[in-house]
């Protein structure tokens, strides 16, 4: 798969202060999460990829195009939803999105058509002729998403898209992001400090710490691996049940109160556990897949001294 973003010794400095320190790596996922504590360099990385900051050394490529030498061609592929409140004063929502689409190169008529479509798609169809200044925070977030996608980019940068949204609006935003991701013709970079957002939307994650890459992993693979880790809560289990599980090929550890942790080998299905339990008259009261993988990865990355993978 062609890398979406390649980082090649990318170094960014503000004055003498290094912000991004020789980043290397290739990101290939459909939806890539950018995680890190405040000041880790997430926004600086996005801004550098957008061409707002010049690299001090090294470079980055987006779909093979160099951000140093081909900045305009790179930006023609991008859509950007900024973190902060950003809009153009005195404009209706649909005219704002139309203007943005025209600046990306769409002819006026197509830009207008796509602006309407984008507004309906984000759920603001009825409010599209209202002045942007009268929008609520949630509506402004949706309008920002509409302007980011109206021109049909190949890569979408979403900087804290759920900032300030109430739970229903957040759920709607996440649903829209998932919809974009699942279509497959548009890649996503989602920068967030909310692990849950990244976990729900992304299949790859890049964790930054102090301007360095602290961890980078494929969440899809992690999730697949996690499917093999099970936590059971049983009643009536004894040594025979544990031995039976081990005979299936599982690694098992028993704890007081009937709790068990299992590692399932390939080829073993969960229904075999239920069949074994039924055979031995054991109740399986709860069965959980390990769920906190991203949090584990993030916390582990934060423990690495001075970042660096």
């Amino acid at each position: 798969m062609q890398p979406v973003i390649e980082l090649d010794n990318l170094e960014v400095r503000f004055g003498e202060r290094p912000i991004l320190k020789k980043l290397n790596g290739a990101l290939t996922g459909r939806a890539i999460g950018l995680l890190g504590p405040n000041g880790a360099g997430k926004s600086t990385l996005i801004n550098t990829l957008l061409g707002f900051h010049q690299p001090f050394a090294g470079t980055a490529r987006i779909f093979g195009k160099d951000i140093r030498t081909d900045a305009k061609a790179v930006r023609a592929l991008l859509g950007y939803m900024p973190e902060n409140d950003s809009f153009i004063a005195g404009m209706t929502g649909v005219h704002f999105v139309r203007l943005m689409a025209e600046l990306s190169g769409l002819p006026p008529q197509q830009a207008m058509e796509r602006a309407h479509e984008a507004f309906f798609w984000v759920g603001l169809g009825e409010a599209r002729y209202r002045n942007l200044g009268t929008y609520s925070l949630g509506m402004k977030q949706m309008a920002k998403l509409a302007q980011a996608i109206a021109h049909g980019p190949k890569l979408l940068f979403l900087d804290e898209p759920t900032n300030g949204l109430d739970p229903p609006a957040r759920a709607r935003m996440i649903q829209l992001i998932q919809e974009i991701r699942d279509r497959g013709d548009l890649r996503l970079i989602l920068s967030s400090h909310l692990l849950r957002d990244v976990d729900e939307c992304c299949d790859e994650v890049l964790i930054l710490k102090d301007g360095r890459i602290a961890a980078s992993c494929n969440l899809e693979e992690e999730r697949r691996a996690n499917r093999k880790f099970l936590e059971l809560e049983t009643r009536g289990a004894n040594g025979t049940f544990t031995a039976g599980i081990e005979r299936l090929g599982c690694e098992a550890a028993s704890f007081p109160d009937g709790r068990m942790k299992l590692v399932m080998p390939d080829g073993v299905e969960i229904r075999q556990l239920y069949a074994l339990a039924a055979e031995q008259n054991v109740q399986i009261r709860r069965l959980n897949h390990k769920r906190d993988s991203l949090e584990d990865i993030f916390l582990k990355a934060m423990e690495v001294p001075n970042g660096g993978v």
Binding site: N47, G79, F87, L99, G152
Partner: protein, 298 residues
């Protein structure tokens, strides 16, 4: 994609040429300005002077009109460099008001509303952004300065005949060049102030201040130090001196156009040119510093 489908879809259609995209900004700005009654009224008032000047030229060349108005056969007016310079001076003063009204609204709202990342995250450079915003002023000011100036020049040449056009071609060049020096200078200054001050009324006030307060300050320097170098911070003096040299008017006391009248020619013309270039360079520096996709906190 039909609206009813409500699903995201990429765009594969044709794109507009990249070089022409800066013109999108003036198109949107004019659409917004058309809704302002004050702006429409001001624009109508601003073409009154060229109409009056055109009428004077016509009457000057029409015997029947002179008879009707009971004007003798002697010249009503003399259509020469001073005539066109005064027209340019009056119209340029009107453009100062226009710049104070329209200029501050160009960049300061985008800075205040954090809109620059939206513009600059597209295949649209900082230079194109400034050019687009500047075009709004350049187009409006052109309509008020060199376009009516040249139309009047052509009217006079066609009515006068006898090689007047060829003999006075320098006036046409001076109208065109003098207008462009002024409108480029004024546009840059008003955009730079608009970028520097995020509050529109303050930016408009500063634009007037840079003319009137600086002129007063320059006059005070002249009076206290018994010099004329204080004129270097008097913008109307700088422009007036440059115009006078372009129109080849004598550099005597009181020469120059209305509002841009040159009081004494002690400051060399090249110094005035340099002062204008330095102010423009300062404006460009300010714009390049302020027009950024992301603010850098060092």
């Amino acid at each position: 994609m039909a609206v009813f489908k409500h699903a995201y879809k990429g765009y594969e259609g044709a794109l507009t040429p990249a070089w022409s995209r800066f013109l999108i900004l003036p198109r949107y700005a004019f659409a917004e300005k058309r809704r302002s009654r004050f702006f429409s009224l001001f624009f109508l008032v601003s073409i009154l002077a060229p109409l009056i000047f055109a009428l004077l030229i016509y009457v000057q060349h029409s015997l029947s009109a002179m008879k009707l108005l009971q004007i003798g056969s002697s010249n009503l007016i003399t259509v020469n460099a001073a005539f066109f310079m005064n027209l340019l001076g009056w119209q340029s003063m009107m453009t100062l008001f226009l710049a104070a009204f329209v200029g501050p609204g160009q960049i300061s709202p985008d800075l205040a509303n954090n809109a620059l990342p939206l513009y600059l995250s597209r295949p649209f450079s900082r230079a194109e952004y400034v050019l687009g915003k500047m075009s709004v002023l350049l187009i409006l000011m052109s309509i008020m300065t060199w376009i009516p100036g040249l139309l009047l020049f052509i009217l006079q040449a066609s009515l006068e005949g006898n090689g007047w056009f060829g003999q006075n071609l320098r006036i046409a060049g001076a109208i065109f060049l003098g207008s462009w020096i002024w409108i480029l200078f004024l546009s840059l200054l008003s955009l730079a102030l608009s970028a520097w001050v995020k509050w529109k009324p303050m930016a408009g006030g500063l634009l007037f201040g840079s003319f009137f307060v600086a002129a007063g300050f320059g006059g005070a320097i002249n009076a206290i130090l018994r010099t004329s170098w204080g004129n270097l911070i008097n913008i109307s003096h700088l422009i007036g001196t440059v115009w006078t040299s372009l129109f080849e008017r004598p550099m005597h006391r009181g020469s120059g156009a209305f509002f841009f009248r040159v009081h004494g020619g002690d400051v060399p013309t090249w110094c005035c040119w340099m002062a204008l270039v330095l102010i423009c360079a300062g404006c460009l520096y300010l714009l390049s510093h302020k027009i950024r996709g992301a603010e850098v906190v060092r």
